[in-house]
Assembly symmetry: C2
Homo-oligomer: 140 residues x 2
DNA sequence: CTTGTTATTGATAAAACTTGCAATAGCAAA
DNA sequence: TTTGCTATTGCAAGTTTTATCAATAACAAG
């Protein structure tokens, strides 16, 4: 992302600032295919931005996640991973072999609407991880 | 949980051992209502078991989660929380005020079966957290 | 372009979590 | 009961993540 992306204008409207650090992190996420962990992001960003701190990485990722510009996912064990918000999707992960499939958001839309009816809750997090066994691992 | 719970026999059958540490942690989780964080669990367990280490808490929680005896949940920001596997349920959490509702597993059963049809994946993790806005926070 | 406000960063320390390894202790089998 | 195997623990060091706070720098307004 650079200055002309729509997110930029939007952030400013909210009273937030467009810092080089935020732009760099978003740029890395945007050009990445799939998930990145905080340390992966750090190592990529620090190359073009020697001053970058890990603390800033964590703070910025939390901030961007709250703003909905990036998605947080808890895929498997260990650290959380982040990815740019592009198309609404979810993950289906094999606990055995780690294989990962994407689930289109449309498949959950009906469920979300049902939650609204049942509980009055309006779902907005958009990202859900389901764990299971892939067909191969079920056989073993 | 103590020696006579069914989990005990099952663990032994798998070749795992029934240690006082595991029993104590399970006992704390069993008598707790709702979620506990690792440090909460530690502070409770260490009272009756002075030797208990935090490293053991983390290792044991991961172990019990892998075995399916406890559920891990990512409720809100910050650390993961754990609870005993008793009735299958999920969580619906308000991102604004933190209010939490339980969702019965039956509401997701159809979805899980659909995943099996579409992808061949058999869901086994049983615990999913949905984030959204509760009715009150939607008005503001 | 200059200035003032304050959101954001960097640096540091603290907290949370993980890992490696030698010593301990479950428990199966004799 | 006693013995042997090895899963598990405790300890200590290492890594990851969060919190604090003074200094910096976006950006709106003059």
């Amino acid at each position: 992302m650079s200055e002309h992306y729509p997110e930029s204008a939007w952030l400013r409207e909210q009273g937030y600032r467009l810092t080089p650090q935020r732009l760099a992190i978003l740029e890395v996420l945007r050009s990445a295919k799939g998930h990145l962990s905080p340390s992966e992001i750090y190592h990529q960003v620090v190359q073009d931005m020697p001053g970058m701190t890990e603390a800033t990485i964590y703070r910025t990722l939390n901030f961007l996640a709250e703003q909905g510009l990036v998605l947080v996912a808890h895929v498997g064990r260990g650290q959380l991973v982040y990815e740019i918000t592009e198309h609404d999707h979810h993950h289906l992960i094999c606990k055995q072999c780690g294989d990962m499939k994407e689930i289109d958001h449309l498949q959950l839309k009906a469920l979300y609407e049902q939650f609204l009816d049942d509980t009055g809750y309006q779902i907005n997090t958009i990202h859900t991880t389901f764990f299971g066994l892939c067909p191969d691992c079920q056989r073993k």
